[in-house]
């Protein structure tokens, strides 16, 4: 198990990445060396007491085993403040946290589903085990798609990319799950498919249903508001099928989709989840 540490992490790079997204590079050597795809960090966006809590971000990539890359878009007060951070500044960083994606088995075809700003953990996934993967990217409209630099990285790592936008401004018009279903119905697919998804809660619910209907293994990276990221505040718990709750920060954020109780009240409440950033509006 990689050890979780707390850092005053130096900001190395911070700039607009295209579209609505910002790219933030932080120096955190031990964290970068031990993090696995699907894990996240808690980042304090300010030294002040308001906003009080750190924000959780999925790790998008690791550079030279020393630095980590995060992507975010402005979704509330915390991320608004974060945009003002300059290279050279140090931010409180805690990680790596949570349980990552299971390593794909030989002979499987990973089907990656990225909804909205849920692409960062999947970008990290493709860096480690992308070769045979296919990516499905969905968003509201073209502007909300991952930045072009990210898409370039994805293109160089995966076998194919399928786009879906709700307004039809890019790729298939409709939900990313429709594009996924259409692909699954094609006769020429190869390998045993395994789904890895990150995105808003309704998308994860739809992907999980599709996976259950077709009896395909499905791993989802969940989002929740959280205070500590360490498993002690119990604020991020989600209802599970076996009864009771599990902590997104500790037992997750990656769950086998069959573990989650999708009919629970959480689906209503996490309606506006913004992927990668879980503590914002």
């Amino acid at each position: 198990m990689p050890q979780t540490r707390q850092y005053p992490a130096e900001v190395l790079l911070h700039r607009r990445a295209g579209g609505e997204y910002f790219r933030l590079v932080l120096r955190a050597p031990a964290l970068a060396a031990s993090a696995v795809p699907g894990q996240f960090v808690m980042l304090r966006v300010s030294e002040n007491r308001d906003p009080l809590l750190a924000r959780p971000f999925g790790i998008a990539s690791v550079v030279s085993r020393k630095d980590i890359v995060l992507y975010y878009r402005v979704a509330g007060r915390g991320t608004t403040l974060l945009t003002t951070v300059r290279p050279g500044q140090r931010l409180g960083l805690l990680g790596p946290l949570g349980k990552g994606f299971p390593v794909p088995e030989k002979g499987t075809t990973p089907l990656l589903i990225a909804g909205g700003s849920g692409f960062p953990p999947l970008l990290f996934f493709t860096a480690r085990y992308g070769k045979r993967a296919r990516l499905f990217v969905g968003s509201r409209d073209k502007a909300c798609l991952p930045p072009s630099g990210v898409m370039k990285d994805f293109r160089s790592r995966v076998l194919g990319i399928h786009y879906a936008t709700e307004d039809g401004s890019c790729g298939t018009c409709g939900f990313v799950t429709d594009a996924l279903a259409a692909f699954m119905d094609r006769p020429d697919r190869f390998g045993r498919p395994v789904i890895y998804a990150c995105g808003p809660h309704p998308m994860l619910a739809a992907v999980s249903r599709l996976a259950a209907d077709r009896n395909i293994p499905c791993y989802i990276s969940m989002e929740a508001r959280m205070a500590c990221g360490l498993g002690v505040c119990m604020g991020c718990s989600v209802p599970v099928a076996s009864g009771g709750y599990k902590r997104v920060c500790k037992e997750g954020p990656v769950f086998d989709s069959r573990e989650i109780s999708w009919s629970g009240p959480v689906s209503l409440q996490l309606r506006k989840a913004e992927c990668g950033v879980r503590n914002e509006e």
Binding site: L52, C228, G235, S237, Y245
Partner: protein, 321 residues
């Protein structure tokens, strides 16, 4: 101003010695006055990688009940200005699991372990207290009285003087361990409850628990928490907590653990000057997992700077005249 908790005459040589951070609280020896507040530190295991738990004055563990409790549906937390609301629902694995799975590793630590207990009837509390009595490694009990008594119409023990007295007396009789009453701040006059706890034979007080609060999403017109209301914690409540500690300290002789929004040593020292013999870090652990140890070092540095020989010299020394 009454000088509380074993104040010592200032020794002129003390300025050259390393300041003494140890305190004896309600019969419990603490190597320093900094504890973790219940429900913000789990059972210690999650922090093991990040800080040296042996350097803590003590750990007040997450509330333990007679039977496991699964907790409230989400959303359970909401961030507020300089604070947060929570309605976790006291999720915990129950006293049996605590004794068998959590306590064995806790008792190996070189720090005081205080077990927070709660229930929904006097019998519940008494049963948990009895099970913990004599358990090796338990230094004391902290009794969360901010729970409804389901056997008397759901009245909250901690906001009704008679119910609070009866409950605390019953727990006091059920155990030989030091009993610390964690008072609810959701009352008009905290001194009445502080006196009631002292009268019931409690050995110490913890204050404050969270303040009852609420937040609403104006667009959906729904409460931010599934439970509608929740407990407010964090720096937002600190002035209220300091005031209540100050009032309670003047009303009773038993020592007080002060808590409510402490993030730094300076925050902690406010409570100590107000009359707290020890302090607990709660929400601060979420913001900075090393907050407890930074507070310990900060208090040490303050004592050195002030030339004080012991942290005990500062207890209740706010200059109000």
């Amino acid at each position: 101003m009454k000088n509380r908790a074993n104040a010592e005459i200032r020794d002129p040589k003390s300025a050259w010695k390393k300041p003494d951070l140890s305190v004896k609280f309600a019969g419990i020896r603490l190597k320093n006055p900094v504890l973790t507040a219940s429900g913000t530190f789990g059972y210690g295991e999650e922090f093991r990688d990040i800080i040296d738990l042996n350097r803590l004055g003590g750990i007040i563990v997450k509330g333990v009940s007679l039977r496991p409790i699964i907790g409230n549906p989400p959303p359970r937390i909401w961030e507020t200005p300089s604070g947060m609301l929570n309605a976790i629902g006291l999720e915990n694995p129950g006293v049996d699991v605590f004794l068998n799975a959590k306590l064995p590793s806790l008792r190996k630590l070189d720090t005081a372990v205080i077990v927070n207990i709660f229930g929904y009837s006097v019998d519940d509390y008494v049963a948990v207290a009895e099970q913990l009595d004599g358990a090796p490694g338990v230094a004391g009990l902290e009794v969360n009285i901010s729970c409804p008594n389901v056997k008397s119409g759901g009245i909250v023990f901690g906001t009704n003087l008679k119910a609070a007295s009866e409950l605390l007396s019953a727990v006091r009789r059920a155990t030989r361990l030091p009993v610390i009453a964690k008072l609810s701040p959701n009352v008009t006059d905290i001194t009445e409850f502080a006196r009631a706890a002292e009268g019931a034979g409690c050995n110490g007080l913890s204050l404050i628990n969270t303040l009852l609060g609420m937040a609403i999403d104006v667009r959906s017109r729904r409460p931010r928490l599934a439970n509608c209301t929740g407990g407010l914690s964090g720096p937002a409540i600190r002035p209220v907590a300091v005031r209540m500690v100050w009032q309670a300290a003047r009303a009773v002789k038993i020592p007080i653990i002060g808590m409510g929004g402490i993030l730094t040593a300076e925050d902690a020292l406010e409570f100590i000057l107000a009359g707290a013999s020890a302090v607990a870090i709660g929400t601060g652990n979420f913001v900075n997992p090393a907050a407890t140890l930074e507070v310990v070092e900060g208090i040490r540095a303050f004592l050195e700077h002030e030339g004080a020989g012991s942290v005990r010299e500062l207890v209740g020394q706010v200059r109000t005249a």
